[in-house]
């Protein structure tokens, strides 16, 4: 573990917060200044995060850019930050999407502009903090902190049913995370009793060997919390409401980053902390993931509302990610991580597209459109590319991820693999059918005849999205290089650790069973 001299992660975390605090004192009427200021902050943030990618040591097996400071040493709470190949990519995704979101809100947000951008910067702080924290308390603090700005984004700047959606979002996530907190505390005291050390550092707690029954309980609590965030079937019901009611940028961030926190949580915390339980949970998690894939796809097919359709497609896509992660082989896990990034880009892109057309027509109903391709040709091109990326056409990023996941799934269990593959077909059905109804055919509605095509700002946003769609589709090696070592280490760790705890279990259970048998013999 190398301790960096420049606290770059802390900078990334607190710089947006600093921006938000400065904005607090800005003049509310000067909305142009507020927008430009936020854009500058988010651009600086992006620029500061890019060196991470190049300075990151691909071969290192430990956490990098580690920062450590005592926070409350008597309890073992420390300020411990660090990233590996997985969180590195997610941090970059976050800083990138934040810039996109600031740009796409430029005209869409007209009310309470100042509060909006403050909330957004605050959200960025919380997201990056969650991704970098390696101390369970610190992680939990940032994890909960993400809820407030998102709650406000949906509730203040959202659609007509925004209040319902915001409260549903908050309560679902909060209910899950409080159980996780109990599990964190239990783990903490368990580790203390076993070793005599008070610590919340994940790196330390990875070493704990926990009896299998306890692992089931703890994994259950962590998994529930993360599964709600992912969201996995059957706890996904908050997502369609939240997505539909959130403003465009809110949807993009929600799909792009917040959902990833759930899958990231599995990889960073739930699985490596309780590996034996996680491996035992493979059938359950895989079945739920497969149900999510197929159910999400079928439900999307029938949605009349564009945003709702994309929201359900997220359920399906995240099902793939979970399936990949729980395949526990190189292809599956790498594919899962790659798909996390893809989903951020392509579903984020779809939400942007819908936001752009919504700004022009103030409706999202598929039936209100038709023949848009003739009216808005540039728009049509971008929409097509992003749609194809979401379907996972070879050459786009989606293909790489889904292909790897299916490969991994087939390797671990043919049934899951086969069932999941039907999701690919269904995905093509709902996306292409939607695209056809919106873009092709004759223009049926009078209002659609004079829609303006995309402006410079919008093209800039979409070009940058398409750039990554193609780059990640054509040259995935660049990204896989970053996570290769991490994933190999992760899998090796999980496997050896779970085997180890099974051996321990045998050693402790076997004598007990023998003793019980002896006892029964005696009583006889």
């Amino acid at each position: 573990m190398t301790v960096m001299s420049v606290p770059i992660l802390s900078f990334l975390i607190y710089f947006p917060l600093l921006g938000a605090v400065i904005l607090l004192f800005a003049n509310r009427r000067n909305s142009l200044f507020i927008k430009v200021f936020t854009l500058v902050i988010s651009l600086v943030e992006l620029a500061a995060s890019i060196p991470l990618f190049f300075k990151f040591d691909d071969a290192a097996k430990t956490m990098q850019f580690v920062e450590k400071a005592d926070w409350f040493p008597e309890w073992g709470i420390s300020y411990l930050l660090g990233i590996d190949g997985i969180s590195l990519l997610l941090v970059l995704l976050t800083t990138f999407l934040t810039v996109i979101c600031v740009l796409c809100s430029w005209k869409a947000i007209e009310e309470r502009v100042k509060e909006y951008y403050i909330t957004f910067l605050f959200l960025e702080t919380a997201m990056i903090g969650t991704l970098c924290a390696l101390d369970l308390v610190l992680f939990y603090v940032f994890w909960e902190l993400m809820l407030i700005p998102m709650y406000l984004l949906i509730g203040v700047w959202g659609g007509p049913r925004r209040i319902y959606a915001a409260i549903k979002f908050f309560l679902f996530t909060m209910a899950g995370s409080v159980l996780m907190l109990v599990a964190i505390l239990t783990l903490y005291f368990y580790y203390y009793n076993a070793t005599g050390i008070y610590t919340f550092s994940v790196l330390e707690l990875y070493k704990a060997s926990i009896p299998i029954v306890k692992q089931y309980w703890l994994f259950g609590a962590f998994a529930l919390s993360f599964a709600i965030k992912v969201p996995m079937f059957p706890v996904h019901t908050w997502l369609p409401d939240a997505h539909t009611e959130a403003p465009t940028a809110g949807s993009v961030i929600l799909a792009g980053v917040l959902l990833k926190m759930g899958t990231y949580g599995f990889i960073r915390f739930a699985i490596p902390l309780f590996p034996a339980a996680a491996i035992d949970a493979v059938p359950l998690m895989s079945v739920l993931a497969v149900i999510g894939i197929i159910y999400g796809a079928i439900v999307s097919m029938m949605q009349p509302d564009l945003k709702r359709l994309i929201a359900f497609s997220s359920v399906s896509h995240l099902g793939y990610v979970m399936l990949g992660i729980f395949a526990f082989n190189m292809q599956g896990v790498q594919g899962g991580i790659y798909q996390m990034l893809n989903h951020g880009i392509s579903t984020g892109g779809l939400f942007l597209i819908v936001g752009m057309i919504y700004e022009r027509r103030h409706t999202r109903m598929i039936s209100d459109f038709g023949g848009i391709a003739k009216v808005m040709p540039i728009f049509a091109v971008f929409f097509m590319i992003i749609t194809l990326s979401s379907i996972a056409l070879p050459g786009t990023n989606g293909f790489v991820g889904e292909f790897l996941i299916l490969l991994g799934a087939f390797k671990s269990n043919v049934v899951y693999g086969t069932l999941a593959t039907t999701g690919v077909v269904l995905g093509a059905v709902y996306m292409l059918w939607m695209f056809q109804r919106v873009m092709f055919g004759v223009v049926t509605k009078e209002e659609n005849r004079n829609l303006k095509d995309l402006g410079g700002r919008e093209i800039l946003i979409l070009v940058s999205m398409v750039f990554f769609i193609i780059l990640m589709g054509v040259y995935p090696k660049m990204f896989f290089n970053k996570m290769d070592t991490t994933v190999v280490e992760y899998l090796a760790f999980v496997k050896s650790k779970s085997a180890q705890s099974r051996v321990l279990e045998q050693n402790t259970v076997a004598p007990r069973v023998a003793k019980e048998e002896a006892n029964t013999n005696l009583t006889r």
């Binding site: 308390v137 709650y151 309560l171 409080v178 109990v182």
Partner: protein, 486 residues
């Protein structure tokens, strides 16, 4: 030393108490000599100054541990901690009252004198391990508050609150006194420390009279901390009383009752933990659930905060059950955090109230985010802290309290507690939702922008952030305070 002689030098240890006895008498005289708004201003300012002096004397006592007045009174870090907490509450409440009491026409010499006498009672209550002294403190506190509740004489709910609190309070006090009498009857001892020694010698000790006495003690204290099923008075009294007094009661009285409860039980009754922890387990779960679920359906913010304060008593009881003397500091920390967030929240309620209209419907919060962003922001911080959202003090408090339960392997209790805090998030967020998501409803009253309110809110926010992000200082203080139990 002859027991009947009290050395004069011992008086220097009770300077804060002397201050809080003499100063209010002065206020009463000044109140008699002046009239109207002038009287209110002068006594208010004097009250704040007096309390700051008392706080200074109290802080000087930090670190001293000794018994004075023939073991009837003790100066120790535990008592000093609570004294300082009460004085902080007093200072904040009197700053708010400078404006509020003036507006409602209740500010006079008596008002501030009674506030100070109340705090005197709380101090006495938490600084003694002798049953009689504890009881006297409790009565001094209660009598002051009975009067304070009914100060809005023209307002029927205020008078109702006063009468209700008086009748039920007298009843509960009787329980407490009877419980003390029974314990005395079965052991012949009134001093908690002596009781502890007695039980150590006479283990296992159990007579019917003693068990009943212990039960009565729980009832008596349960009333003052407003735990279910002894909570019935709380919503009506909190709603009817002048709002500054509600803030004072919700924080001061609760902290004092917990202070005495913890001292009595953690000193003397630890050997019987297996007996009473089962009873309090039920009480804690009931208190959390009833408080939170009833709060869900309230339309009046003041009443909602009353139910939420019941629920918070439940959270503290969770740590109380474990009887972990080293971690009793978690309760002290929680009481501290709880006091600041509640005073803050009630201050916002006060600022939004209209004169003479003792009514804080949730509708009056609608659109506050636009009408008055600063108050809305402050209220959000207080509510989020009450809901236990990091990095505010409320989160650290809950974290600490429930970690005590997890450590003692009360897993289900911790799960119930955390689920309750998720339920609670709903009604706290509802207020936020009204402030930010809804348009102003009807003709809103003008928001009172007095600097006094702003000052109190800023102090509370500072305390909450400081306690939440850098809990170390405060935790060390709380840990030192409970050092007397080990």
């Amino acid at each position: 030393m002859d027991a009947s002689i009290i050395p004069a030098c011992e008086f220097r240890w009770i300077m804060p108490e002397i201050m809080l006895t003499g100063w209010p008498l002065l206020l009463l005289i000044i109140g008699g000599l002046t009239k109207g708004p002038v009287a209110s201003k002068i006594s208010g300012v004097l009250c704040v100054i007096g309390s700051i002096f008392a706080l200074y004397f109290t802080l000087n006592l930090w670190g001293t541990n000794l018994d004075v007045f023939n073991q009837l009174y003790s100066i120790d870090s535990y008592g000093t901690f609570f004294k300082a907490l009460f004085l902080c509450i007093l200072i904040l409440v009197s700053i708010v009252s400078l404006r509020y009491a003036d507006r409602e026409g209740i500010g006079s010499g008596e008002y501030y004198a009674l506030l100070m006498f109340g705090v005197l009672g709380m101090m006495v209550m938490t600084s003694s391990h002798h049953f009689i002294t504890i009881f006297i403190g409790l009565e001094v506190m209660s009598l002051s508050i009975y009067v304070l509740c009914g100060l809005l004489r023209g307002n029927a709910t205020s008078v109702e609150a006063s009468l209700k609190y008086f009748l039920l309070g007298a009843f509960a006090t009787a329980f407490l006194l009877y419980g003390m009498a029974m314990i005395y009857g079965s052991t012949g001892i009134l001093d908690v420390v002596e009781l502890k020694k007695y039980f150590l010698l006479k283990q296992p000790f159990s007579t019917t009279m003693f068990v009943i006495g212990l039960g009565f003690l729980i009832v008596g204290f349960g009333f003052k901390i407003a735990s279910v099923p002894f909570h019935m008075w709380t919503p009506d009294v909190y709603q009817g009383a002048p709002t500054s007094i509600t803030a004072y009661m919700a924080t001061g009285v609760k902290a004092a009752a917990f202070g005495a409860l913890i001292r009595v039980f953690f000193t003397a009754f630890i050997p019987f933990q297996f007996g009473w922890s089962e009873i309090i387990w039920v009480l804690a779960v009931l208190t959390m659930c009833v408080g939170n679920i009833t709060a869900l359906v309230q339309h009046d913010v003041k009443r909602m905060l009353a139910y939420s304060s019941i629920a918070h008593a439940g959270y503290i009881l969770v740590a109380f059950i474990t009887a972990d003397r080293a971690l009793a500091s978690s309760m002290l920390y929680y009481l501290m955090a709880y006091s600041f967030m509640n005073i803050g929240a009630f201050t916002v309620v006060i600022a939004l109230e209209k004169k003479g209209d003792n009514n804080s419907e949730i509708d009056s919060f609608a659109g506050l985010g636009v009408r008055h962003p600063f108050y809305a922001l402050c209220m959000s911080i207080f509510l989020l802290s009450l809901a236990g959202v990091p990095p505010l003090a409320g989160f650290m408090g809950k974290f600490y309290v429930f970690s005590t339960a997890v450590k003692a392997q009360y897993y289900w209790l911790a799960v119930i507690g955390f689920l309750n805090s998720a339920v609670a998030a709903y009604y706290y967020l509802r207020v936020m939702m009204y402030m930010y998501f809804k348009e102003t409803i009807g003709e809103p009253g003008s928001v009172d922008k007095a600097p006094q309110y702003g000052l109190v809110m800023v102090i509370c926010i500072w305390a909450l952030l400081h306690m939440g992000i850098f809990p170390k200082t405060f935790l060390t203080i709380a840990q030192k305070a409970v050092g007397i139990f080990s």
